[in-house]
């Protein structure tokens, strides 16, 4: 790639980034105008400047950082546990037909139960505190990983398996050289989804289980004291964290799967 092609690609992505900002900026402006001219009840819709003020206040108090950190720690712990278990379980389903036959149907049935429906059971079994939250987040991460790992392994092409047989690959060689790399795109999509679901799960767990430091808690406090600036700050932070996690996952994916055909 020539330098000019590289720079034009860069300016293209800058242009795309700027275009993506148009709608949020307009929304922000509309929001400020609505609250400024009191077109809506200010007690129910705080102004952007009020949210900003609350943000600086929270930062000065040292609150924000610890709340954010608590949520992220919870999120990542659940994500790691859930996706680790998901990779193991999904691989078992994909690699051993007998595991698929025995466990597949039950898993498919369990998958139909909305993840939030497990909360009553989880709170009975694991209590209301941190362990229960992490179990819930792990469960949210578990499903998409299992489904995608299973699918990835099953999608290994017969044609490539014949190549492996022609070269007399052992089971281990076949796994390392063929199954794992062939399944990798699917595994990554699973992990990517798990990262998003576990963040949603984090907020859900913080909201539905016992209060503890976290972004969800910030929002509950705000709601209970009718401090809408605090609630909205929580919403914005939750969105920003989700957005960042998503873009980290996208980057990791395109780095590790750079052999794939680039879609324009």
């Amino acid at each position: 790639m020539s330098a000019s092609a590289a720079s034009s690609a860069a300016s293209l992505s800058t242009a795309r980034f700027l275009r993506g900002l148009v709608v949020p900026l307009i929304a922000l402006l509309a929001w400020e105008l609505i609250t400024h001219y009191k077109l809506a009840n200010v007690h129910l819709l705080a102004s952007p400047s009020a949210v900003l003020k609350n943000l600086t206040f929270q930062i000065e108090e040292g609150e924000l950082f610890s709340q954010l950190l608590a949520s992220l720690r919870r999120d990542l712990t659940g994500f790691l546990l859930g996706s680790f278990a998901g990779v193991l379980f999904g691989s078992a389903l994909g690699l051993w037909r007998i595991a698929d036959r025995l466990l597949g149907p039950s898993f498919d049935a369990a998958k139909q139960v909305a993840v939030f429906a497990w909360i009553p059971l989880i709170s009975v079994w694991f209590g209301n505190a941190e362990p229960a939250k992490i179990v819930f987040i792990a469960l949210a991460a578990f499903y998409p990983v299992v489904v995608n790992v299973h699918e990835g392994i099953r999608s290994v092409s017969r044609e490539h398996v014949e190549v492996a047989r022609a070269f007399r690959f052992s089971r281990l060689q076949t796994f390392k050289k063929l199954i794992l790399p062939a399944a990798l795109p699917s595994i990554f999509s699973g992990l990517h989804l798990a990262l998003i679901y576990s963040w949603l799960g984090t907020l859900g767990a913080e909201y539905l289980l016992a209060p503890a430091p976290g972004i969800g808690n910030l929002m509950i406090e705000g709601r209970e004291s009718l401090a809408m600036d605090k609630v909205l700050l929580g919403v914005i932070l939750a969105g920003l964290v989700g957005f960042s996690l998503n873009s980290v996952a996208t980057r990791a994916e395109s780095y590790f799967l750079r052999w794939r055909v680039r879609n324009a």
Binding site: E159, H160, E162, A166, F167, R168, F169
Partner: protein, 255 residues
């Protein structure tokens, strides 16, 4: 790197069972292939030629009769029999160099010798400079060259080719046919080519086995006594091509 051996196919039959119905694919087929020979197998689709090749590779072990290579019965795949499929079947996540190297995964050679063999075979198929390209960056013809290099890299004494140029455009196809002839002359190994392209079969083969379908049998074996390297415009090649074509058309006038 064993010496080339005689391939002996004796009374081989095979059938598929589809919904309790037995479909014969090959019926009592016998053929002897000499070491270093270039044998073409040609026939209309459904004549069982690809099935026969899969049996020779050892990818399919369910058949009646006997297939021997030297004094060994074929019971599975062997590193001594390389294979090139119709689709290149390169692994998309590996570079060309790494794909060719797949053929050496189970080779007893040392690292240096492997590297050397990979380099030589990439050169042999004219892909020098593309070692670190990924398959999707290559044209169909180049990918098929890489597949040929992968099939030859551990120096098998037999190379089996299953319609290797079937998916390529006419120009690339005839260029690769010429190159395959050169490779065969240089490597002096046995090559068995399955194809539905009569010109290709006659241009490359020392003998052309004409198969007929339902069930798959050998209709005729035509010897092509024209020395290699061959010239496509050679009149005796043309006459033999017409002879083979007539044999096939006679069998299936609908095609």
């Amino acid at each position: 790197m064993s010496q080339s051996a005689v391939i002996d196919i004796r009374d081989v039959s095979k059938q598929y069972t589809v919904k309790n119905e037995v479909l014969p694919v090959l019926e009592r087929l016998s053929l002897t292939i000499n070491p270093g020979e270039f044998l073409s197998i040609v026939g209309a689709s459904g004549c069982g030629k690809s099935t026969l090749l899969r049996l020779l590779v050892g990818l399919d072990r369910e058949y009646q009769g006997e297939i021997r290579v030297g004094d060994q019965q074929v019971t599975g795949t062997s590193l001594d029999r390389g294979i090139v499929f119709q689709e290149h079947r390169l692994f998309p996540w590996l570079t060309i160099e790494q794909n060719v190297g797949l053929g050496l995964e189970n080779s007893p050679w040392g690292e240096d010798k492997k590297k050397q063999a990979i380099k030589e075979h990439i050169e042999l198929v004219g892909l020098t400079g593309f070692e670190s390209a990924y398959p999707h960056q290559l044209s169909g013809g180049m990918a098929q060259r890489a597949a040929i290099a992968r099939g030859l890299v551990n120096r098998p004494s037999i190379l089996l080719l299953d319609e290797p140029f079937g998916a390529l455009d006419a120009l690339t196809r005839s260029r690769l046919q010429g190159e395959l002839q050169n490779i065969w002359q240089r490597e002096k190994i046995t090559m068995i080519l399955v194809t539905h392209d009569v010109d290709e079969a006659v241009y490359l083969g020392d003998r052309v086995v004409v198969m007929q379908p339902r069930p798959g049998r050998i209709r005729k074996v035509v010897a092509v006594d024209v020395p290699h390297p061959r010239d496509r415009s050679d009149p005796s090649l043309k006459a033999l091509t017409e002879e083979v074509r007539a044999e096939i058309l006679h069998v299936s006038p609908s095609n």
